[in-house]
Protein backbone atom coordinates (compact mmCIF):
# COMPACT_ATOMS: atom_id res chain seq x y z
CA UNK A 1 0.00 0.00 0.00
CA UNK A 2 1.43 3.41 -0.85
CA UNK A 3 1.91 6.11 1.77
CA UNK A 4 -0.87 8.45 0.64
CA UNK A 5 -3.65 5.86 0.69
CA UNK A 6 -2.43 4.64 4.07
CA UNK A 7 -2.72 8.18 5.46
CA UNK A 8 -6.20 8.57 3.98
CA UNK A 9 -7.38 5.31 5.57
CA UNK A 10 -5.92 6.33 8.91
CA UNK A 11 -7.71 9.67 8.71
CA UNK A 12 -11.02 7.94 7.99
CA UNK A 13 -10.49 5.54 10.90
CA UNK A 14 -9.72 8.50 13.17
CA UNK A 15 -12.94 10.31 12.20
CA UNK A 16 -14.95 7.13 12.87
CA UNK A 17 -13.36 6.62 16.29
CA UNK A 18 -14.07 10.24 17.28
CA UNK A 19 -17.68 9.94 16.07
CA UNK A 20 -18.27 6.69 17.97
CA UNK A 21 -16.52 7.60 21.20
CA UNK A 22 -16.95 11.36 21.66
CA UNK A 23 -20.53 11.18 23.02
CA UNK A 24 -19.37 8.73 25.69
CA UNK A 25 -16.19 10.66 26.51
CA UNK A 26 -18.10 13.96 26.83
CA UNK A 27 -20.71 12.48 29.19
CA UNK A 28 -17.92 11.24 31.45
CA UNK A 29 -15.96 14.50 31.24
CA UNK A 30 -18.93 16.72 32.14
CA UNK A 31 -19.73 14.57 35.17
CA UNK A 32 -16.58 16.08 36.75
CA UNK A 33 -17.42 19.72 36.08
CA UNK A 34 -17.73 22.19 38.93
CA UNK A 35 -20.29 24.27 37.04
CA UNK A 36 -24.05 23.78 36.93
CA UNK A 37 -24.18 23.05 33.18
CA UNK A 38 -22.89 20.19 31.10
CA UNK A 39 -20.99 22.52 28.80
CA UNK A 40 -17.57 23.98 28.11
CA UNK A 41 -15.65 25.67 29.61
CA UNK A 42 -15.09 23.36 32.55
CA UNK A 43 -13.70 25.76 35.17
CA UNK A 44 -12.42 23.12 37.54
CA UNK A 45 -12.63 19.39 37.91
CA UNK A 46 -14.71 18.44 40.93
CA UNK A 47 -16.75 15.66 42.43
CA UNK A 48 -19.66 18.07 43.06
CA UNK A 49 -22.18 16.12 40.98
CA UNK A 50 -20.98 12.71 42.14
CA UNK A 51 -21.52 13.91 45.72
CA UNK A 52 -24.96 15.21 44.77
CA UNK A 53 -25.72 11.78 43.28
CA UNK A 54 -24.81 9.75 46.38
CA UNK A 55 -26.66 12.26 48.60
CA UNK A 56 -29.90 11.68 46.67
CA UNK A 57 -32.05 8.90 48.19
CA UNK A 58 -33.81 8.36 44.84
CA UNK A 59 -30.46 7.36 43.37
CA UNK A 60 -30.01 4.51 45.87
CA UNK A 61 -33.53 3.20 45.16
CA UNK A 62 -32.88 3.28 41.42
CA UNK A 63 -29.47 1.62 41.80
CA UNK A 64 -30.94 -1.15 43.94
CA UNK A 65 -33.72 -1.79 41.41
CA UNK A 66 -31.20 -1.85 38.56
CA UNK A 67 -28.97 -4.33 40.37
CA UNK A 68 -31.81 -6.67 41.37
CA UNK A 69 -33.36 -6.60 37.90
CA UNK A 70 -30.16 -7.05 35.90
CA UNK A 71 -28.81 -9.68 38.30
CA UNK A 72 -31.97 -11.76 38.09
CA UNK A 73 -32.17 -11.32 34.32
CA UNK A 74 -28.53 -12.43 34.00
CA UNK A 75 -29.01 -15.61 36.03
CA UNK A 76 -32.39 -16.56 34.54
CA UNK A 77 -31.38 -15.96 30.95
CA UNK A 78 -28.14 -17.91 31.48
CA UNK A 79 -30.05 -20.95 32.80
CA UNK A 80 -32.93 -20.85 30.30
CA UNK A 81 -30.70 -19.83 27.39
CA UNK A 82 -28.13 -22.55 28.06
CA UNK A 83 -30.90 -25.15 28.28
CA UNK A 84 -32.28 -23.98 24.94
CA UNK A 85 -28.82 -23.97 23.36
CA UNK A 86 -28.24 -27.55 24.61
CA UNK A 87 -31.55 -28.56 23.06
CA UNK A 88 -30.66 -26.88 19.77
CA UNK A 89 -27.22 -28.51 19.73
CA UNK A 90 -28.97 -31.90 19.74
CA UNK A 91 -30.80 -30.99 16.53
CA UNK A 92 -29.33 -30.99 13.05
CA UNK A 93 -28.09 -27.48 12.14
CA UNK A 94 -30.63 -27.45 9.30
CA UNK A 95 -33.46 -27.77 11.82
CA UNK A 96 -31.86 -25.71 14.59
CA UNK A 97 -31.42 -22.60 12.45
CA UNK A 98 -35.16 -21.79 12.06
CA UNK A 99 -35.65 -22.25 15.81
CA UNK A 100 -32.83 -19.78 16.52
CA UNK A 101 -34.37 -17.33 14.04
CA UNK A 102 -37.76 -17.61 15.78
CA UNK A 103 -36.22 -16.90 19.19
CA UNK A 104 -34.55 -13.80 17.70
CA UNK A 105 -37.83 -12.28 16.46
CA UNK A 106 -38.29 -10.03 19.54
CA UNK A 107 -35.09 -8.22 18.50
CA UNK A 108 -36.76 -7.21 15.22
CA UNK A 109 -39.62 -5.40 16.97
CA UNK A 110 -38.84 -1.83 18.06
CA UNK A 111 -38.51 -1.65 21.88
CA UNK A 112 -41.32 0.94 21.98
CA UNK A 113 -43.80 -1.49 20.40
CA UNK A 114 -42.60 -4.31 22.64
CA UNK A 115 -42.97 -2.04 25.68
CA UNK A 116 -46.52 -0.88 24.98
CA UNK A 117 -47.58 -4.41 23.97
CA UNK A 118 -46.34 -5.80 27.30
CA UNK A 119 -47.85 -2.88 29.24
CA UNK A 120 -51.25 -3.63 27.68
CA UNK A 121 -50.88 -7.36 28.33
CA UNK A 122 -49.86 -7.08 32.01
CA UNK A 123 -52.43 -4.45 32.75
CA UNK A 124 -55.33 -6.36 31.11
CA UNK A 125 -54.24 -9.63 32.75
CA UNK A 126 -54.20 -7.75 36.10
CA UNK A 127 -50.63 -8.86 36.61
CA UNK A 128 -49.05 -6.65 39.31
CA UNK A 129 -46.39 -4.50 37.64
CA UNK A 130 -43.02 -3.71 39.15
CA UNK A 131 -39.58 -5.31 39.17
CA UNK A 132 -41.04 -8.74 38.32
CA UNK A 133 -42.66 -7.54 35.07
CA UNK A 134 -39.46 -5.74 34.05
CA UNK A 135 -37.45 -8.94 34.63
CA UNK A 136 -39.90 -11.03 32.58
CA UNK A 137 -39.88 -8.48 29.75
CA UNK A 138 -36.09 -8.21 29.65
CA UNK A 139 -35.78 -11.97 29.18
CA UNK A 140 -37.41 -11.53 25.76
CA UNK A 141 -34.48 -9.60 24.34
CA UNK A 142 -31.63 -11.08 26.45
CA UNK A 143 -32.42 -14.76 25.76
CA UNK A 144 -31.63 -14.57 22.01
CA UNK A 145 -28.11 -13.31 22.78
CA UNK A 146 -27.46 -16.05 25.36
CA UNK A 147 -28.80 -18.74 23.01
CA UNK A 148 -26.69 -17.45 20.08
CA UNK A 149 -23.46 -17.26 22.10
CA UNK A 150 -23.81 -20.61 23.90
CA UNK A 151 -25.09 -22.41 20.79
CA UNK A 152 -22.08 -21.14 18.82
CA UNK A 153 -19.81 -22.57 21.54
CA UNK A 154 -21.60 -25.94 21.50
CA UNK A 155 -21.30 -26.17 17.71
CA UNK A 156 -17.60 -26.94 18.13
CA UNK A 157 -17.95 -28.96 21.30
CA UNK A 158 -16.73 -32.54 21.33
CA UNK A 159 -19.78 -34.47 22.51
CA UNK A 160 -17.75 -37.69 22.75
CA UNK A 161 -16.56 -36.63 26.22
CA UNK A 162 -20.19 -36.50 27.38
CA UNK A 163 -20.86 -39.90 25.79
CA UNK A 164 -17.89 -41.33 27.71
CA UNK A 165 -19.32 -40.01 30.97
CA UNK A 166 -22.70 -41.55 30.11
CA UNK A 167 -21.06 -44.88 29.19
CA UNK A 168 -19.35 -44.86 32.59
CA UNK A 169 -22.78 -44.64 34.21
CA UNK A 170 -23.31 -40.91 34.83
CA UNK A 171 -26.91 -39.69 34.65
CA UNK A 172 -27.58 -37.01 31.99
CA UNK A 173 -27.75 -34.38 34.75
CA UNK A 174 -24.52 -35.56 36.38
CA UNK A 175 -22.78 -35.67 32.99
CA UNK A 176 -23.89 -32.08 32.39
CA UNK A 177 -22.65 -30.75 35.72
CA UNK A 178 -19.36 -32.68 35.83
CA UNK A 179 -18.39 -32.62 32.15
CA UNK A 180 -20.31 -30.22 29.90
CA UNK A 181 -20.72 -27.26 32.26
CA UNK A 182 -17.06 -27.04 33.37
CA UNK A 183 -16.03 -26.95 29.71
CA UNK A 184 -18.51 -24.28 28.61
CA UNK A 185 -18.58 -22.37 31.92
CA UNK A 186 -16.68 -19.29 30.69
CA UNK A 187 -19.03 -18.94 27.71
CA UNK A 188 -22.14 -19.26 29.89
CA UNK A 189 -20.90 -16.64 32.38
CA UNK A 190 -19.95 -14.35 29.52
CA UNK A 191 -23.42 -14.72 28.01
CA UNK A 192 -25.00 -13.97 31.39
CA UNK A 193 -22.94 -10.79 31.65
CA UNK A 194 -24.04 -9.69 28.16
CA UNK A 195 -27.65 -10.24 29.28
CA UNK A 196 -26.96 -8.18 32.43
CA UNK A 197 -25.48 -5.31 30.51
CA UNK A 198 -28.42 -5.25 28.04
CA UNK A 199 -30.82 -5.27 30.99
CA UNK A 200 -28.94 -2.52 32.85
CA UNK A 201 -28.94 -0.28 29.80
CA UNK A 202 -32.58 -0.74 28.80
CA UNK A 203 -34.77 2.31 29.20
CA UNK A 204 -37.77 1.95 26.88
CA UNK A 205 -39.17 -1.45 27.93
CA UNK A 206 -38.41 -0.77 31.61
CA UNK A 207 -40.19 2.58 31.44
CA UNK A 208 -43.43 1.01 30.19
CA UNK A 209 -43.43 -2.07 32.43
CA UNK A 210 -42.13 -0.83 35.81
CA UNK A 211 -45.23 1.17 36.76
CA UNK A 212 -43.88 4.05 38.79
CA UNK A 213 -40.61 2.54 40.02
CA UNK A 214 -37.19 3.67 38.87
CA UNK A 215 -34.06 2.08 37.53
CA UNK A 216 -30.92 4.09 36.77
CA UNK A 217 -31.86 4.87 33.13
CA UNK A 218 -35.45 5.78 34.17
CA UNK A 219 -33.99 8.09 36.82
CA UNK A 220 -31.69 9.76 34.25
CA UNK A 221 -34.65 10.22 31.91
CA UNK A 222 -36.59 11.99 34.68
CA UNK A 223 -33.62 14.32 35.23
CA UNK A 224 -33.27 15.10 31.52
CA UNK A 225 -36.94 16.07 31.35
CA UNK A 226 -36.96 18.17 34.53
CA UNK A 227 -34.01 19.95 36.10
CA UNK A 228 -31.04 19.22 33.88
CA UNK A 229 -27.81 19.26 35.89
CA UNK A 230 -24.52 17.40 35.44
CA UNK A 231 -25.84 14.92 38.01
CA UNK A 232 -27.39 13.22 34.98
CA UNK A 233 -23.81 12.89 33.69
CA UNK A 234 -22.65 11.27 36.91
CA UNK A 235 -25.45 8.66 36.76
CA UNK A 236 -24.91 8.25 33.02
CA UNK A 237 -21.21 7.62 33.65
CA UNK A 238 -22.09 5.05 36.28
CA UNK A 239 -24.40 3.28 33.79
CA UNK A 240 -21.58 3.30 31.21
CA UNK A 241 -19.07 1.92 33.71
CA UNK A 242 -21.45 -0.90 34.65
CA UNK A 243 -22.54 -1.82 31.09
CA UNK A 244 -19.14 -1.46 29.44
CA UNK A 245 -17.44 -3.14 32.41
CA UNK A 246 -19.65 -6.22 32.22
CA UNK A 247 -19.28 -6.25 28.43
CA UNK A 248 -15.50 -6.21 28.71
CA UNK A 249 -15.45 -9.15 31.12
CA UNK A 250 -17.94 -10.96 28.87
CA UNK A 251 -15.81 -10.41 25.76
CA UNK A 252 -12.75 -11.67 27.57
CA UNK A 253 -14.56 -14.75 28.89
CA UNK A 254 -16.29 -15.73 25.65
CA UNK A 255 -13.22 -14.82 23.59
CA UNK A 256 -15.67 -13.23 21.18
CA UNK A 257 -13.85 -11.35 18.45
CA UNK A 258 -16.62 -10.24 16.12
Amino acid sequence: MNGLSSIVWRGIAGVFVVFLLSPLVLVILFSFTSRAQSAFPIEALSLRWWNAMVADPRFWGALWNSLVISGTVGVLSAIIGTMAAMGLARLEPRRARPAVAVLCLPLMVPPLVLGVTLLTFYSRAHFPMGRQTVIMSHLLFTLPFVVLVVYARLRNFDFRVVESARDLGASPLRAFFTVTLPIIRATVIGAALIAMSLSLDDFVITFFTISGGQTLPVFVFGMIRAALTPMANAIGTLILIMTIGTTLVALWLTRYRG
Binding site: L26, V27, V113, P217, A232
Partner: protein, 273 residues
Protein backbone atom coordinates in the same frame (compact mmCIF):
# COMPACT_ATOMS: atom_id res chain seq x y z
CA UNK B 1 -35.20 -34.45 25.94
CA UNK B 2 -34.64 -31.83 23.23
CA UNK B 3 -38.20 -30.59 23.66
CA UNK B 4 -37.77 -30.46 27.43
CA UNK B 5 -34.62 -28.36 27.13
CA UNK B 6 -36.26 -25.94 24.71
CA UNK B 7 -39.51 -25.73 26.69
CA UNK B 8 -38.68 -22.83 29.08
CA UNK B 9 -37.34 -20.56 26.32
CA UNK B 10 -40.24 -21.38 24.00
CA UNK B 11 -42.76 -20.83 26.82
CA UNK B 12 -41.36 -17.36 27.48
CA UNK B 13 -41.43 -16.64 23.77
CA UNK B 14 -45.05 -17.79 23.49
CA UNK B 15 -46.45 -16.26 26.70
CA UNK B 16 -44.57 -12.95 26.63
CA UNK B 17 -44.26 -12.36 22.89
CA UNK B 18 -46.82 -14.22 20.78
CA UNK B 19 -49.78 -13.93 23.16
CA UNK B 20 -49.28 -10.22 24.04
CA UNK B 21 -48.80 -9.31 20.36
CA UNK B 22 -51.92 -11.27 19.37
CA UNK B 23 -53.90 -9.61 22.15
CA UNK B 24 -52.55 -6.21 21.15
CA UNK B 25 -53.70 -6.91 17.58
CA UNK B 26 -57.21 -7.74 18.81
CA UNK B 27 -57.30 -4.52 20.84
CA UNK B 28 -56.42 -2.49 17.76
CA UNK B 29 -60.00 -3.17 16.57
CA UNK B 30 -61.53 -2.00 19.84
CA UNK B 31 -62.68 1.49 20.69
CA UNK B 32 -61.99 3.90 23.49
CA UNK B 33 -65.19 5.01 25.16
CA UNK B 34 -64.61 7.68 27.78
CA UNK B 35 -61.71 6.25 29.77
CA UNK B 36 -62.28 2.57 29.12
CA UNK B 37 -61.66 0.22 26.23
CA UNK B 38 -64.70 -1.34 24.66
CA UNK B 39 -64.50 -4.60 22.71
CA UNK B 40 -65.58 -4.06 19.13
CA UNK B 41 -64.66 -5.09 15.62
CA UNK B 42 -64.10 -1.82 13.93
CA UNK B 43 -61.56 -0.52 11.44
CA UNK B 44 -62.14 3.02 12.74
CA UNK B 45 -58.69 3.17 14.39
CA UNK B 46 -56.96 2.13 11.18
CA UNK B 47 -58.94 4.68 9.17
CA UNK B 48 -57.95 7.31 11.70
CA UNK B 49 -54.27 6.33 11.42
CA UNK B 50 -54.61 6.80 7.65
CA UNK B 51 -56.40 10.16 8.05
CA UNK B 52 -54.31 11.72 10.78
CA UNK B 53 -50.94 10.04 10.80
CA UNK B 54 -50.07 9.00 7.26
CA UNK B 55 -47.92 12.11 6.71
CA UNK B 56 -46.02 11.39 9.94
CA UNK B 57 -45.64 7.75 8.97
CA UNK B 58 -44.27 8.55 5.52
CA UNK B 59 -41.87 11.09 7.03
CA UNK B 60 -40.74 8.52 9.64
CA UNK B 61 -40.13 5.83 7.01
CA UNK B 62 -38.20 8.33 4.87
CA UNK B 63 -36.06 9.40 7.81
CA UNK B 64 -35.50 5.79 8.89
CA UNK B 65 -34.44 4.98 5.31
CA UNK B 66 -31.90 7.81 5.29
CA UNK B 67 -30.59 6.69 8.69
CA UNK B 68 -30.36 3.02 7.67
CA UNK B 69 -28.70 3.81 4.31
CA UNK B 70 -26.14 6.13 5.93
CA UNK B 71 -25.47 3.74 8.80
CA UNK B 72 -25.05 0.77 6.47
CA UNK B 73 -22.69 2.70 4.17
CA UNK B 74 -20.59 3.94 7.11
CA UNK B 75 -20.72 0.52 8.78
CA UNK B 76 -19.51 -1.05 5.52
CA UNK B 77 -16.55 1.33 5.32
CA UNK B 78 -15.66 0.71 8.96
CA UNK B 79 -15.92 -3.07 8.59
CA UNK B 80 -13.82 -2.86 5.41
CA UNK B 81 -11.21 -0.88 7.35
CA UNK B 82 -11.06 -3.50 10.11
CA UNK B 83 -10.88 -6.45 7.72
CA UNK B 84 -8.61 -5.17 4.95
CA UNK B 85 -6.87 -1.91 5.84
CA UNK B 86 -6.23 -1.53 9.56
CA UNK B 87 -3.70 -4.33 9.96
CA UNK B 88 -2.68 -4.63 13.58
CA UNK B 89 -5.10 -1.84 14.54
CA UNK B 90 -8.03 -3.94 13.34
CA UNK B 91 -8.75 -5.59 16.72
CA UNK B 92 -8.76 -2.15 18.42
CA UNK B 93 -11.31 -0.80 15.91
CA UNK B 94 -13.46 -3.91 16.36
CA UNK B 95 -13.19 -3.51 20.11
CA UNK B 96 -14.50 0.08 19.92
CA UNK B 97 -17.48 -1.11 17.86
CA UNK B 98 -18.21 -3.81 20.46
CA UNK B 99 -18.10 -1.58 23.53
CA UNK B 100 -20.28 1.07 21.87
CA UNK B 101 -22.82 -1.65 20.95
CA UNK B 102 -23.91 -2.52 24.46
CA UNK B 103 -23.46 0.67 26.42
CA UNK B 104 -25.63 3.70 26.86
CA UNK B 105 -28.64 4.10 24.55
CA UNK B 106 -30.14 6.89 26.67
CA UNK B 107 -26.72 8.23 27.66
CA UNK B 108 -25.75 8.70 24.00
CA UNK B 109 -28.95 10.61 23.17
CA UNK B 110 -28.38 12.79 26.23
CA UNK B 111 -24.81 13.42 25.14
CA UNK B 112 -25.93 14.60 21.71
CA UNK B 113 -28.21 17.11 23.48
CA UNK B 114 -25.10 18.59 25.11
CA UNK B 115 -23.12 18.47 21.84
CA UNK B 116 -25.64 20.06 19.49
CA UNK B 117 -27.46 22.50 21.82
CA UNK B 118 -27.26 26.28 21.53
CA UNK B 119 -24.61 26.37 24.30
CA UNK B 120 -23.39 22.95 23.24
CA UNK B 121 -19.92 21.62 22.64
CA UNK B 122 -20.00 22.20 18.88
CA UNK B 123 -21.13 25.83 19.11
CA UNK B 124 -18.64 26.57 21.88
CA UNK B 125 -15.83 25.03 19.86
CA UNK B 126 -16.73 26.94 16.68
CA UNK B 127 -17.02 30.22 18.63
CA UNK B 128 -13.66 29.65 20.30
CA UNK B 129 -12.05 28.93 16.92
CA UNK B 130 -13.57 32.13 15.58
CA UNK B 131 -15.35 30.25 12.81
CA UNK B 132 -18.68 31.81 13.81
CA UNK B 133 -19.68 34.96 15.69
CA UNK B 134 -23.05 33.77 16.96
CA UNK B 135 -24.05 30.26 18.13
CA UNK B 136 -25.74 28.32 15.33
CA UNK B 137 -29.33 27.61 16.40
CA UNK B 138 -29.98 25.16 13.55
CA UNK B 139 -27.69 22.42 14.85
CA UNK B 140 -30.38 21.29 17.18
CA UNK B 141 -34.10 20.52 17.31
CA UNK B 142 -34.41 19.39 13.70
CA UNK B 143 -34.37 16.28 11.54
CA UNK B 144 -30.61 16.54 10.98
CA UNK B 145 -29.92 16.22 14.71
CA UNK B 146 -32.23 13.18 14.85
CA UNK B 147 -30.39 11.54 11.93
CA UNK B 148 -26.93 12.16 13.43
CA UNK B 149 -27.99 10.77 16.81
CA UNK B 150 -29.69 7.69 15.34
CA UNK B 151 -26.72 6.96 13.05
CA UNK B 152 -24.38 7.29 16.04
CA UNK B 153 -26.00 4.66 18.18
CA UNK B 154 -27.04 2.34 15.31
CA UNK B 155 -23.58 2.22 13.75
CA UNK B 156 -22.24 -0.76 15.80
CA UNK B 157 -25.40 -2.69 14.83
CA UNK B 158 -24.38 -2.33 11.18
CA UNK B 159 -20.62 -2.76 11.63
CA UNK B 160 -20.75 -6.12 13.42
CA UNK B 161 -22.87 -8.20 10.99
CA UNK B 162 -21.04 -6.70 7.98
CA UNK B 163 -17.68 -7.47 9.55
CA UNK B 164 -18.85 -11.00 10.40
CA UNK B 165 -19.62 -11.53 6.68
CA UNK B 166 -16.34 -10.00 5.55
CA UNK B 167 -14.37 -12.27 7.85
CA UNK B 168 -15.51 -15.15 5.63
CA UNK B 169 -13.68 -13.66 2.64
CA UNK B 170 -10.29 -15.33 2.41
CA UNK B 171 -7.13 -13.70 1.13
CA UNK B 172 -6.82 -16.66 -1.26
CA UNK B 173 -9.98 -15.57 -3.11
CA UNK B 174 -8.67 -12.03 -3.51
CA UNK B 175 -5.23 -13.23 -4.61
CA UNK B 176 -6.82 -15.60 -7.11
CA UNK B 177 -8.83 -12.69 -8.51
CA UNK B 178 -5.70 -10.57 -8.76
CA UNK B 179 -3.76 -13.39 -10.46
CA UNK B 180 -6.57 -13.65 -13.00
CA UNK B 181 -6.11 -9.99 -13.77
CA UNK B 182 -8.83 -8.31 -11.72
CA UNK B 183 -8.05 -4.77 -10.60
CA UNK B 184 -8.84 -3.41 -7.15
CA UNK B 185 -12.31 -2.16 -8.09
CA UNK B 186 -13.19 -5.39 -9.92
CA UNK B 187 -12.33 -7.64 -6.99
CA UNK B 188 -14.15 -5.23 -4.65
CA UNK B 189 -17.34 -5.26 -6.72
CA UNK B 190 -17.23 -8.96 -7.66
CA UNK B 191 -15.97 -10.47 -4.41
CA UNK B 192 -16.14 -8.14 -1.39
CA UNK B 193 -19.61 -6.68 -2.04
CA UNK B 194 -21.46 -9.90 -2.94
CA UNK B 195 -19.71 -11.92 -0.23
CA UNK B 196 -20.70 -9.44 2.50
CA UNK B 197 -24.24 -9.16 1.18
CA UNK B 198 -25.93 -11.10 4.02
CA UNK B 199 -24.35 -9.01 6.76
CA UNK B 200 -24.98 -5.76 4.92
CA UNK B 201 -28.66 -6.55 4.50
CA UNK B 202 -29.01 -7.71 8.11
CA UNK B 203 -27.42 -4.46 9.28
CA UNK B 204 -29.65 -2.37 7.03
CA UNK B 205 -32.85 -4.15 8.11
CA UNK B 206 -32.05 -3.90 11.82
CA UNK B 207 -31.12 -0.19 11.64
CA UNK B 208 -34.21 0.62 9.57
CA UNK B 209 -36.64 -1.15 11.92
CA UNK B 210 -35.11 0.37 15.05
CA UNK B 211 -34.92 3.90 13.61
CA UNK B 212 -38.53 3.69 12.40
CA UNK B 213 -39.74 2.72 15.87
CA UNK B 214 -37.65 5.11 17.93
CA UNK B 215 -39.39 7.80 19.92
CA UNK B 216 -36.84 9.13 22.41
CA UNK B 217 -34.44 10.61 19.86
CA UNK B 218 -37.04 12.84 18.16
CA UNK B 219 -38.46 13.76 21.55
CA UNK B 220 -35.11 14.76 23.06
CA UNK B 221 -33.07 16.19 20.16
CA UNK B 222 -35.74 16.62 17.47
CA UNK B 223 -37.80 19.53 18.83
CA UNK B 224 -40.84 19.71 16.58
CA UNK B 225 -39.75 16.72 14.48
CA UNK B 226 -42.72 14.40 14.59
CA UNK B 227 -42.10 10.69 14.21
CA UNK B 228 -44.68 7.94 14.47
CA UNK B 229 -43.05 6.57 17.64
CA UNK B 230 -43.69 9.85 19.48
CA UNK B 231 -47.37 9.58 18.50
CA UNK B 232 -47.58 5.94 19.62
CA UNK B 233 -45.99 6.73 22.99
CA UNK B 234 -48.46 9.61 23.43
CA UNK B 235 -51.40 7.19 23.11
CA UNK B 236 -50.06 5.39 26.17
CA UNK B 237 -49.40 8.63 28.03
CA UNK B 238 -51.53 11.75 28.05
CA UNK B 239 -53.94 10.86 25.23
CA UNK B 240 -54.64 7.49 26.81
CA UNK B 241 -56.11 5.72 23.80
CA UNK B 242 -54.61 2.22 23.80
CA UNK B 243 -56.67 0.79 20.89
CA UNK B 244 -55.46 3.68 18.73
CA UNK B 245 -51.88 3.11 19.89
CA UNK B 246 -52.21 -0.58 19.01
CA UNK B 247 -53.48 0.20 15.49
CA UNK B 248 -50.62 2.69 14.99
CA UNK B 249 -48.08 0.10 16.20
CA UNK B 250 -49.27 -2.51 13.71
CA UNK B 251 -49.38 -0.06 10.82
CA UNK B 252 -45.80 0.96 11.70
CA UNK B 253 -44.61 -2.64 12.04
CA UNK B 254 -46.27 -3.66 8.77
CA UNK B 255 -45.16 -0.71 6.68
CA UNK B 256 -41.60 -0.65 7.99
CA UNK B 257 -41.14 -4.40 7.44
CA UNK B 258 -42.53 -4.01 3.91
CA UNK B 259 -40.18 -1.13 3.09
CA UNK B 260 -37.18 -2.92 4.63
CA UNK B 261 -37.89 -6.11 2.66
CA UNK B 262 -38.42 -4.17 -0.57
CA UNK B 263 -35.16 -2.26 -0.09
CA UNK B 264 -33.30 -5.50 0.64
CA UNK B 265 -34.81 -7.16 -2.44
CA UNK B 266 -33.93 -4.23 -4.72
CA UNK B 267 -30.40 -4.06 -3.35
CA UNK B 268 -29.88 -7.78 -3.90
CA UNK B 269 -30.56 -7.17 -7.62
CA UNK B 270 -27.85 -4.51 -7.83
CA UNK B 271 -24.16 -5.07 -8.47
CA UNK B 272 -21.70 -2.21 -8.54
CA UNK B 273 -19.68 -2.20 -11.75
Amino acid sequence: MTALLLAPAMTIFAVLFVVPLAYFFVISFWRKVLFAMQPDFSFANYLQVYDQHSATLVFTLGLAFVVAALTTALGFIYAYLIRFKAGRWGPALLFIALITLFGGYLVKIYSWMTILGIKGVLNTALLALGAIDEPLPWLYYNAGAVVVTLVNFSLPLAILPIYASMRGITDIELEAARDLGAGGWRSFSDIVVPRSHVGTMAGFGLCFLLAGGDYLTPQLVGGKVNMIGVQIAAQFGLIFNWPMGAAMSFVTLGSSSAVALLAIYLFSQWRPR
